[in-house]
Subunit: 297 residues, 4 copies
């Protein structure tokens, strides 16, 4: 059993850390707003006064925060993980951040003898609770090997992607597909509507066969109900597609469909819909087609 630290107790961090606790590890947690820790403390976790304190109390520290900036601060900032670290500590950053930031943090960690993995995930809170996430891991192979049993407690699909920054790189590629698939679903529903089909028929038929996509399965029903409550916001999807396209610039890869999908997402943002779910791109296409997707009675 390990002494585990967990920093970042949001919608994902809570069920993930809970699964580690329930597996019998000792757990010290910290979150910017202490409130979120209540359930974990009641279940036996300890409270660390800061990210620094969590690091001091742990052999392996997980971080699961919002973005590149938050990750950098909680790890490299004042009172952060690296200030409380000692050589030999393992750091696993499961946040979805830009690969170059991830590499930069890993280098600073290494300078203090801390081995870091970048290990972003796919999957909703429910899958986190069930230990069925997808986990993409970058960093030293031996650190990955050491952490593997913990990853298996959290995810159903663990993929080692390569050296430092490759976990977050794989996440970008994953989200590129997601972004284009959402655009495709939106185009299909708008076309179906104007062609006189019930959009529900599209959702149903694409639940089987080669045209099935997670995008339609998850978001199709919400799109036809016009429920744009954010699961993954248009702004965040836009940010990820932009980072993927910047990677494509560096690598020299032309991505016509991803590129044009980003232009539509940008329109959603410009129209003030950035905080809604990424499937709100449908409304951009609706306006272009002068129609509204809706279910038949």
């Amino acid at each position: 059993m390990h002494r585990i630290g967990f920093i970042g107790l949001g919608l994902m961090g809570q069920p993930m850390s809970r699964r580690l606790l329930d597996a019998g590890h000792s757990l010290t947690v910290w979150n910017r707003t202490a409130d979120k820790a209540k359930g974990l403390l009641a279940a036996g976790a300890a409270w660390g006064a800061s990210a620094l304190a969590v690091a001091q109390a742990s052999d392996i520290v997980f971080t699961m925060v919002t973005d590149s900036a938050a990750s950098e601060e909680v790890i490299c900032g004042r009172g952060g993980v690296l200030e409380g670290s000692r050589p030999g500590l393992i750091l696993v950053d499961m946040s979805s951040i830009a690969p170059e930031i991830s590499r930069s943090i890993a280098a600073r960690a290494q300078a203090k003898g801390v081995s870091m993995l970048d290990a972003p995930v796919t999957g909703a809170p429910r899958l986190a609770a069930e230990g069925k996430l997808g986990i993409m891991v970058g960093g030293p192979r031996e650190t990955f090997a050491a952490c593997r049993p913990l990853f298996e407690r959290l995810g159903a699909k663990i993929v080692y992607a390569g050296g430092s920054g490759m976990g977050t790189t794989l996440k970008l590629v994953n989200n590129l597909i997601l972004g284009v698939a959402i655009e495709a679903a939106a185009e299909a529903l708008v076309l179906a509507t104007k062609a006189g089909l019930d959009p529900q028929a599209v959702i149903e038929i694409t639940s089987v066969g080669g045209a099935r996509t997670g995008a339609m399965e998850t978001r199709g029903p919400r799109m036809v109900r016009r429920d744009f409550t954010p699961h993954f916001s248009a702004s965040n999807m836009y940010k990820d597609l932009s980072t993927a396209l910047r990677l494509a610039e560096e690598c020299g890869v032309s991505l016509p469909a991803a590129s044009i999908s980003r232009e539509i997402l940008r329109a959603a943002k410009s129209q003030g819909k950035g905080d809604q779910d990424s499937c709100v791109v449908m409304t951009v296409l609706e306006a272009m087609a002068n129609t509204i997707v809706k279910l038949r009675d």
Copy 2:
């Protein structure tokens, strides 16, 4: 039990007609090349001398042929179904053809008292054999109701799409999603390769989570092995995307991602790869990026 006719015994028609026979219906079949009927005849089916003869011997005739032209010929041509029909016959065309051709055939059928459904399918031959196809049906609702038990013998997902031509319209929308999803998979694999990832890692991580697609699941493994044996050829995918975009023209719907995906597919065709599987679009993107997708050792 019905007297069923089945015309068109290709890779799909054989297992489909076999399932109807095995359910206890009497079955009369015809195919341009008689050879393909051997197994069915051995299992108890009768041979019709022509499409006309099949129609005379049946209450419900299924047709499952290559394209709009073949469908038109076998139904409306000399010696075709309508020459052998009588009022009350039901005709179910399961071929994937253009909606306006389907509507035109249905009108000619109706003039002879024959009620026709357009009922194209999704799914590979293996799924046909297991009765797990997706079936999209257009035509008179009461004819659909009458045929429903037969459809349920053939498919796991039966969707009534509306009046005549709406089954084939839904098929176009389905394939629009498929075409864009294949483009997305290809873009992802090329980017992954140049970004230093093992493309296999992309296939694995997208087997779970929101970014999963039938396109990657089915074609990803073949793409990284460079196996472009046609399951659904680039030319056929191109034809379907083109028909979908023509529908979008008529309806007035802008489809940026589908539109650009078609331009890439067209390049594959122009480069002489039209007979290969539609996932051969990956090679167009590879040439643009000056790279080759391959698995790590």
Copy 3:
């Protein structure tokens, strides 16, 4: 001097036929609405009772009508040019129509011993009056040679494009460039506005240097004044881009920028702006960017 017939006295046909008359040729005209011929008759032209009658009275007949259908009717229909033709007549169709229609008409003309040129033009009515049109000619080279002096009376730039249908093909390629250049101008003006520039500055700087385009020069001032009075309507531009893309399909050429420009034009049409000038595509981009292009005070 020739006996010339001229059919179609619209905004272009009037000044064009007038220039031929003023050069000393005898001129017989016909137009669906006779009114339009007043000025020409006053200036010495004769009135033909029909297209047929015009053909009987002439050695060379020009047609300048709206579209493929009108061209086909006035030439091949009842009372049309071919009914009044005799072997040796020359027919010059200056209408902008689809190449395959043009070829089909030429074949029917040839069957009656009539040699036809397809010779669409570029340029506004004012340029027609000044004899400064661009003229693209397809058809037999010797017929072109025979008509060249007449073309030089009408245009400043005469281009022989090849056999029958190649004049109209060249017109499509010309309009493909125009369509994309208008899209580029619109994108530039919207970006400039949101970037805090006066759009007038864009118009001015692009009046010199490599970035100059007829699209911006002609339409930029109208775009910033929001004057969408049709010079070349969005619907007609859409039709031409669509025909060009259909040609690209047949030839096997991928046209990413033309293709995406057409999707934006289609949105303009879907939004009910098809009758406005093609530069109304700017309003589609404005809506996507949630802004309005306007001049600074």
Copy 4:
């Protein structure tokens, strides 16, 4: 008459500084490689030992260097303009650089009492020699007013674009149009070729009418001769389109045609053609269409 300094004597800087000298101003010049100054010194210019020395000897200093980095170094670096400046000096950076770098340099200049204009140009060396450049100016309006007579010596079209950084912003918008127009010209030539037209016919007809573009006029003849000698390289055009799209990201503007044009340009770069002229994008489209554009004999 002013005491003018000129730093950067490349293909553009030489004719530009010469015109200022010839107008009777005293001129002090500096260039990284002294060689390039020979002609100017022979004509009466003085040599400054460094950018610093040029600044000390001048009332108005012009800089015309390669890119953002070179501009920053020659102005803000050791031995640069600002080290030799005194309050009241005017600095005119005519280099084409990123707006945010321009603004940052201007702020550092202002801190030393130096008023800076960003004033990039359009036009080839020949136009520079004739004083017919286009000049886009950003910065304090009164500094612009003071420099206007000098700009009029250099350019035929002087556009005041707004505050600091707006000159370079306008240059980006200008080049966005150029980039899309080159893509359009390339698409047109490839389509024309496969449609059986002589590409020369496209060049000729688009020299008149609404479809005329500087891109085709300047580059068309080179494209059909396959002369890709760089006038403005694919890499530089790619860089400018990328900066323009980054501006579009910040502003929230969707640019479908510019976006897709950049993907094609990126392919040219990936294929090792970055140092060739930007019209080399034609070869990317040729490969996609499996053809070669060439003149008829």
